[in-house]
Structures are given as structure tokens and as C-alpha cells.
């Protein structure tokens, strides 16, 4: 059997005593209140909106109307506000403290961008109203495209993919279309390093490609010899993240591109880590053919508890004719969204989704770009890299960096060698960070590093906050080494909940609220 393991589940061994040694009488914890589900709070006849009376359906809908109860609770406005505010207090957030989730680029989200995204002329417009009535919106898309192309040194961009993984799909489909157009449809293999994001092999497999892994060198980079050996007439593309998931720049990237192109394959670059080089290095100068850009990472559109994202894909000259619809053109009459491919553009593979993509994210990202400018974006990359190297430098005597030689880029990667013999695992250590007020780093990823801890501070942390973070980690590391296993084993102790039973959740999935069965009548 294959051992394909990511992360470690939590399954609490036994309830541990309340650390505070004090409990309230009603079950609350000061400001942190237990909050029932809306299904347990709301009334079945209650509503928090006032609407005019309406007539029943007309006769034409006879037999089509919904006559049985739907089962939806309603809340009045004060109840709703309280419900969601109470729930919100159980979340960690960037606005509360450093959120060093490696590979996710959890940076500050400027509030100006939120304000701009709510301007009626940008938010209250329909994707299918006449284009003559949305010239500003199409112009904004064109300007965003210009910034993305200039920052990456690439000639074309497909804006519409809705997130990074969707962008990967778009890029690979363009590559596939290009191969098919050139009579190279027999190329069915995609090469990707072992350290790749899970989305890379998932996307490639989805497109009908067989994924072959490229070995990694001891210093955390693509093994050129192995790449060269695996390239050939059967290879459609390579997918390489740069900076890579170990937080390192692929120093042989130009050679990687050269070998790939010599073999007739395309170079797909996973741009998840573009934040480390934005404004300083243009992927186009490295020989990249396609790269998605996570606007929610590098250009700071809010992560929103898991989306929405946006994943525009920049394309090289060779791939540009294969971009999906729609795209923007402009002439003396104004801006136009081309929604149906015609003529030479008919090689395009179609559309990624309905409409034109994540406009709400475009507005925020464009405001972010204008605010920073070319100079500010360069500073973003430099400060992101500086902050990560600072963390690496300050923790290297206590923790073991996975790649101690040379600088890292925007994230610092440690392995768990330093925890050996302490009885504390990477998971325990990360959970203990919660008690210190920080979100854990990315754990057990990339897969190539044992017990990986991937720390990405981003550029929006002050030196004081970095020091606070490093000081807390140092105290924890010393505590682990001193044998204070209890602190770690059942951590977190101070979070709204203790460790959750993920095994129970997976064995007996309970995925929605169900009414409690009526209690059997007591025997009289």
C-alpha cells in the first residue's frame, strides 16, 4: 500500500481538567459565550426582514409550487447580529495577530480596498448589462491586466479563473490546446517536484495527464539531472513552484526552462509564492510560459475564511492564442469584452466559468497595486523576504532549519529534528502556539521535509510583532526541550475549544443539523 500522509489528525486521548481550575455556573467563559446553532435559536416563523405583502403564485405554476415546509429558521436583526458576532470571536484572524501559515501569504488587508469594492459603480453592476454602460469596469480589468503583465514580464493574461487551482487548470488547458494545435496531442505526461502543492498533481490528473515526480536535491531544489532524464517527447509540461514550497528560489530556473523548451514542453510556474519576488523579479525573464497569480495572496484580497480567491494566469507569446474567453480589447470607440472567440482566436478552449471572473477581487487588487506602486511592490517582496530570514536567523539556534545554507525567500522552513527525544511532535508544538496567541504555521508540508513547519510572516508585520512572535516560539522551544511535555500534549489549553475528535467526525459524518428525534413517551 502507498503511505500518502499529510498532517496528523487530532483525537484527544482523555478529557483533561480545566486549566483555569474555575468554571462559571452557566457554562459561559466571560466574554466568550457558547452559541447554539441558528436551528436551535431561531423561530420557524420568525423573520429579520420587513417585506411588503405578496400574492400567491399564478395558476401557471400549479403543481410546481413548494407546499411542504422547507425547514429554515429565522432570526430578528438583533439576534442575528449577536449570533454572528459571538461566533466571530471564536476565530483567529490576521487583524488579531501574526498568521504565519506558510504558502498562504496571510498579509494585512487594507480597508481602503473594501471601501472601493463597495462603490456602487463597481459593485452594483451586472455582468450582462450592455457593455456601453460598464466602460469603467472593463477599463479597470484592462488596467489590472496591464499591471499583471508588466509585473510578470508576460505578454498576455487570462483574468477569469476564480482561484489558484482554477488558474492552474486554465494554464494546463491552454498548454494542452497548444500541443493539440501543433499535432502534439500525444504528450501526456506532466513533471512536478515531490514538494509541489497538492493542487498541481490534482489539476494535471484532471486534465488527463500522468504525473511523474521530479527528484529534489539535498539543498531543496529541482534535481536538474533527474529532470533532464525524465524530459522527452512524451512530456507536455513541467509544473514548478518558484519560489518553491521549501521557501527557496530555484536558482537553476533558467536552465530548467531551457531544458523544458528544448524537449518541446511548456513551463508552468505555480505563482503561489509570487509575493517573494513581486516587483523585483519578472517570471517572464525566467522562461515561464504560464503562471497563475493568487490575487488573495500577493495582492491582498481578503481570505474571507476560505475564499473567494482569484487566479489570473499570465501567458507567454506561444500560449496567448489559447487563452479562454472573455478578454478585453480596446480601440478608439472604447473598451470591449470579447465573450465569444472568433477568427484567429477560435483556438481558445472556451470559458472557465460564467461571466467575466472575480470583479470584486479585481477592484481590491487594483486598489492595492495603485497604493503600493512599482516602488512599493518591490519593497513588499524585499520586506517579506527580510522578515522570513529574520525569523530563520533568530530561531536557528533552537530549532532546526530544513535548509540552513543560504538565505530563504519569503518563508522559513524548519524540520522536527530538534524535537527528537522531547516527546513533542510538530503538531503538539503548533497547537501550543495557539495558547501563546498565534496561529500555527503550516505543518507537515512540504512532504519532502520531515515534520515540516513552514513559517511565512509576510511583509506587513512590524519588527516588534516579529520579535513578540519569535520570543514566544523561543520560550516554547526551550520548554519542549526542558521536558514540559504536558504543556504540549493536550494543547491548546486556552482556545475556545480543546482538540477536536477528527476521527469521530470522519467515521460518522454529521454534515447538517437534524431535528432531535422526539423523546419516547415516558411509560405511565
Amino acid at each position: 500500500m502507498s503511505m500518502n500522509t499529510v498532517g496528523r489528525p487530532t483525537r484527544p486521548e482523555a478529557p483533561n481538567d480545566s486549566e483555569a481550575g474555575f468554571t462559571s455556573l452557566s457554562g459561559g467563559r466571560g466574554l466568550l459565550q457558547d452559541e447554539p446553532l441558528i436551528f436551535e435559536l431561531g423561530g420557524w416563523t420568525k423573520t429579520g426582514v420587513d417585506l411588503p405583502d405578496a400574492v400567491a403564485a399564478d395558476g401557471a405554476l400549479a403543481g410546481l409550487t413548494r407546499d411542504e415546509p422547507i425547514g429554515l429558521p429565522g432570526l430578528s436583526e438583533p439576534e442575528a447580529v449577536r449570533h454572528y458576532v459571538r461566533l466571530s470571536q471564536k476565530n483567529h484572524a490576521i487583524d488579531l495577530a501574526l498568521y504565519p501559515l506558510g504558502s498562504c501569504t496571510m498579509k494585512h488587508n487594507p480597508r481602503l480596498n473594501e471601501k472601493m469594492a463597495r462603490l456602487p459603480g463597481l459593485s452594483d453592476i451586472h455582468p450582462l448589462q450592455p457593455q456601453s454602460t460598464v466602460q469603467g469596469a472593463i477599463e479597470l480589468m484592462d488596467r489590472l491586466a496591464h499591471w499583471l503583465k508588466t509585473l510578470t514580464g508576460m505578454p498576455a493574461v487570462a483574468l477569469s479563473p476564480k482561484a489558484g487551482a482554477h488558474g492552474e487548470l486554465c494554464g494546463l488547458l491552454a498548454i494542452r490546446a497548444a500541443h493539440e494545435a501543433a499535432g502534439n496531442g500525444h504528450r501526456k505526461t506532466v513533471l512536478a517536484p515531490t514538494s509541489a502543492h497538492g493542487t498541481n498533481p490534482a489539476t494535471a490528473a484532471f486534465c488527463g495527464y500522468t504525473v511523474v515526480e521530479i527528484a529534489q536535491t539535498d539543498d531543496g531544489r529541482v534535481d536538474l539531472a533527474d529532470l533532464e532524464a525524465k524530459l522527452g517527447d512524451h512530456v507536455a509540461a513541467i509544473m514548478v513552484t518558484n519560489p518553491n514550497t521549501c521557501g527557496l528560489f530555484e536558482r537553476d530556473v533558467v536552465e530548467i526552462a531551457r531544458l523544458t523548451h528544448a524537449a518541446g514542453a511548456y513551463f508552468y510556474c505555480d505563482g503561489a509564492n509570487f509575493n517573494a519576488i513581486v516587483g523585483r523579479v519578472r517570471p517572464g525573464d525566467l522562461g515561464v510560459d504560464a503562471m497563475h497569480i493568487n490575487l488573495h495572496k500577493t495582492f491582498s484580497t481578503p481570505h474571507g475564511g476560505g475564499g473567494p480567491g482569484a487566479g489570473p494566469v499570465v501567458l507567454s507569446e506561444a500560449l496567448a492564442p489559447f487563452a479562454p474567453t472573455p478578454w478585453v480589447v480596446h480601440d478608439e470607440n472604447g473598451y470591449k469584452l470579447v465573450e465569444e472567440a472568433e477568427g484567429v482566436a477560435a483556438q481558445a478552449f472556451g470559458r472557465m466559468s460564467a461571466f467575466h471572473g472575480q470583479m470584486g477581487m479585481y477592484v481590491r487588487a487594483y486598489a492595492y497595486m495603485l497604493s503600493h506602486g512599482a516602488d512599493g511592490l518591490k519593497q513588499v517582496a524585499e520586506d517579506a523576504v527580510l522578515n522570513a530570514n529574520y525569523i530563520k536567523a533568530r530561531l536557528s539556534d533552537l530549532m532546526s532549519p530544513a535548509f540552513p545554507e543560504g538565505p530563504c525567500m519569503h518563508e522559513a522552513l524548519f524540520d522536527d529534528a530538534w524535537l527528537e527525544g522531547t516527546g513533542v511532535t510538530t503538531l503538539d508544538f503548533a497547537k501550543a502556539m495557539i495558547d501563546e496567541g498565534f496561529h500555527p504555521m503550516t505543518m507537515y508540508f512540504p512532504l519532502v521535509v520531515h515534520g515540516a513547519m513552514l513559517i511565512e510572516p509576510t511583509e506587513t508585520e512590524s519588527k516588534a510583532e516579529l520579535d513578540r512572535f519569535v520570543d514566544a516560539l523561543r520560550l516554547l522551544a526551550e520548554s519542549a526541550k526542558a521536558g514540559a511535555v504536558e504543556r504540549f500534549k493536550n494543547a491548546p489549553h486556552l482556545a475556545p475549544l480543546k482538540r477536536l475528535d477528527e476521527t469521530l467526525a470522519a467515521r460518522k459524518p454529521k454534515l447538517k443539523w437534524k431535528p432531535v428525534a422526539p423523546a419516547p413517551l415516558a411509560a405511565e
Partner: protein, 121 residues
């Protein structure tokens, strides 16, 4: 009982081989939460994917240690995947295969060889 380096075991009775994963593999996986067993009638060659076993954060393919046709699958694992943890080398079996090449069995490791192999991991 014979073993593979991928931690499957095979127990042969007549021309039928019962297949499961070893206690070592079950321990490494952690709590098993779901098992996908093969359909009866499916023919597999040695090394083909036979079943999928999932713990909370891992999904692993179980390969056919020998070639043959699936004659029975352990339906109980659907409701009680935890059996793979409790009784990995008995009640937690995955499938029974009618051997198409019995010679393959002899080439697998015996318990001593498997334990020696585990010692090298």
C-alpha cells in the same frame, strides 16, 4: 501468511488468497475511517490498486499482492472501518482473490523476512 514491502499480507487457502494490510501499516495509518473495497468479479494483476483505505488525514491505495479475481470483499468494513485497526491481520481483511498465478505467493516474504524488512525502516 506472506507479506509485501508495501505492507499487504496474503493468506492462502486452496486457490483463494485473503488480502489485508499488516499491523504495522494499520499503526502507521492511525484511525481508519473509511475503506473502499473492490467489487466482486474484478480482475486484478499483481501490483494493481485493489482497495483504498483512509485515515483522518491520509488516503492510501492498497495494491493487489497477487493476481486474481475478486471473489469476496469484506462488506463489514463499510460500517466498521475501525476493524482494520483492531484486527488488521484477521477480521480487518479487505478482499479474497481467486489466484490466477499461485507462484506469485511463493515469491513474497514470510513473517521473519517481513519483520527483518520492518527493522530496516
Amino acid at each position: 501468511m506472506r507479506f509485501t514491502k508495501d505492507h499487504e499480507w496474503v493468506a492462502v487457502e486452496g486457490d483463494v488468497a485473503t488480502v489485508g494490510i499488516t499491523a504495522y501499516a494499520a499503526e502507521q495509518l492511525g484511525d481508519v475511517v473509511f475503506v473502499e473495497v473492490p467489487e466482486v468479479g474484478k480482475t486484478v494483476a499483481q501490483g494493481d490498486g485493489l482497495a483504498v483505505v483512509e485515515s483522518v488525514k491520509a488516503a492510501s491505495d492498497v495494491y493487489a499482492p497477487v493476481s486474481g479475481e475478486v471473489v469476496e470483499a469484506n462488506a463489514e468494513l463499510g460500517d466498521a472501518p475501525e476493524t482494520v485497526n483492531a484486527l488488521p491481520e484477521s477480521g480487518g481483511w479487505f478482499a479474497k482473490l481467486k489466484l490466477s498465478n499461485p507462484a506469485e505467493v511463493d515469491a513474497l516474504m514470510d513473517r521473519d523476512a517481513y519483520e527483518a524488512f520492518l527493522a530496516t525502516l
